[in-house]
Symmetry: none
DNA sequence: GATGAATGAGTTTTCATTCAT
DNA sequence: TATGAATGAAAACTCATTCAT
């Protein structure tokens, strides 16, 4: 009747629950996922969940932040200021696809923009305050100055790029197999470069 | 005490409920919307809903089908076989944005790819069996033959185009005001043409 | 598995649930009583409770209002302006005890003043806005003018009388049997008259 | 990370927890108070509570016993057998109000007669086995013999007096400010003397 | 057809209590 | 002794769906 009581470090336990949440969310989507599902998957008691998270939404927002954080970290590490706009753009796309490959499940949640709960999540991963988005805007601005891209509002451009790539990632991971994903990534990169880089 | 019993034709009553559903779904999203909300908005009884729809999901799927149908109808009407690929592409984009403007609410539901219910909806308006998507694939195929676009898998291209435009529509309608929407539409059209049309 | 669906008038169903609540509250007290207990006793489904009441507290407050209403109705009916203060006082006490006899269970809840939920209930049955309490204050005021009672703040006097009688009612119904109750009522009447009536 | 382990004598630790419990119970009432609240206030760990008390109820009952003990101690110390009944009565009332002033919080719990937990508490401080109540009964008995009060069942008289005073204390401490409390105490004393003392 | 009261399984959340450390 | 993470039973409340009228 009683499960063995495991006492792991707080961080480990958090991660254990988050991983379980990730797995279930991947299978069932945000709304169909219950806290009960998550704790069953994690192998902990119902109450334990609430020891680490205030609510289901809280946990999902944490997951969202994790992915964006990972993305930002990787991009920051890879950025080279002497690269051309095209090189920078390709780097962003590749890094994005790489992180997405490793977080396929979460990517599906990243663009939840239609559901009430999704809006809240969206805010947490929001656009304006997002350091990654801001650095992208800066990248576009200097590209416009240097004439490496066509004239446009850099913020609108970044928002569209974000959506385009996000859409492609979803398409790749929702419907595609491994091979398909690669093809989509390559096609996407080509399309984006054609769309944004002035030659 | 009791509401007047209206005896309208079956189709009218269906439409009445669907319009109510559309309005509520727009405001609250799929999961937060209750059947109770819908019937209250429609001014009919709880049970009446189930005379016209098998379930909540059924009604929402019907809404999805409506928009796609509208889109297909408009595009078919507008298509001219003697137009260039670029002209065709621009037409598709403009029509898409037009329909989306008139169905802003539903557009939010159309790209729900991550929600449980969303998947079901998705299937109903799915890609492979979708006549609109198929005609787009044909359009790309002949553009490749005529050398009006660069070499690629036409199906992948259509899927990506669909996602890119869908993403832009979401961005436009979720966050943008009227002015913003116009700017996004124009920028998007330019980007897509640059991305797909070989000049 | 399924219970027969009864469709009674709204008022009847409300009363059915309130009676069940009364019975369970009597046995288990406010906090130990669950909505689940109440619906089981009433023989209706969990959800049905929430069709008629917003919450457990809401239902209990309704019960409180019922008793106070009954008390006020009876006292108003019995009041005669030509009676002496002593006669009026005795009438109030007797009526109070009578109503209490018929609502023994609820009387226990009437003085719930210590529990958080109780405070809310208290407010609903509160002192200042209570027409019965106000008419009592008026009664005391004119008795002071006519010299039929000793000088005091009439509001304080009424609050104390209310508590004293309430306490006696509780004592009578919590611990007493039938005989005991009668004895307590008589003793109480004597004490109150001695305490308040100047001779 | 871990709190300093304090090694105080068992009694000190008990008192520390009881004081915390008293403070929290005062603010939130029995049911709204959680063991977690108490230990947080006391600055000890969750488990420590259960080293000193069997349950939440156990701790609250202990508090109840403390107040009654204090009351009995004070009254016994103050009692002078050569005093008249009126003097004795006034002493009891004043002492009662004094102890109550110093234990305002607990007084709210003492007359919880309707709450589940309250009943248990009640039993612990119950009437029949209570030395204080017994000495009061004796006081009344000899007053009757000496003709200092009117004829009545002394036990019923004590129970009613207890309730009357208890009710007044509640009224005073639940709703009254400092000034109000004094006024209530004085009015109450006057009323009780009029009610019980034959002149 | 139309109604809307009734249903009850399912959800989130709380918290007294336990026990490995 | 002391700790506090973990437990899980139980609570309040929701809502898609049914069905007697």
């Amino acid at each position: 009747m009683t499960k063995t009581r495991r006492t792991e470090s707080e961080t480990v336990r958090r991660e254990q629950i988050l991983n379980a949440a990730r797995k279930v969310l991947d299978t069932k989507g945000y709304d169909a996922t219950t806290v009960s599902d998550i704790v069953k998957e994690a192998g902990v008691a119902q109450g334990t969940f609430y020891l680490y998270f205030e609510s289901k939404k809280d946990a999902v927002m944490e997951l969202g932040r994790q992915v964006m954080g990972e993305m930002t970290r990787r991009l920051t590490a890879a950025q080279r200021s002497d690269a051309t706009f095209e090189e920078q753009l390709r780097l962003v796309l590749r890094t994005g696809f790489q992180v997405a490959d490793q977080n396929a499940d979460l990517c599906r949640l990243m663009h939840v923009g239609e559901e009430s709960a999704g809006r809240k999540i969206k805010q947490a991963v929001g656009v304006a305050e997002n350091p990654f988005m801001l650095s992208m805007v800066a990248m576009f601005r200097s590209a416009i100055e240097r004439g490496e891209t066509f004239m446009c509002d850099p913020e609108v451009a970044v928002r569209l790029l974000h959506r385009m790539v996000g859409g492609a990632l979803q398409e790749a991971h929702l419907y595609g197999d491994k091979e398909d994903t690669k093809c989509i990534a390559e096609t996407m990169e080509e399309l984006v470069v054609r769309a944004f880089v002035k030659r």
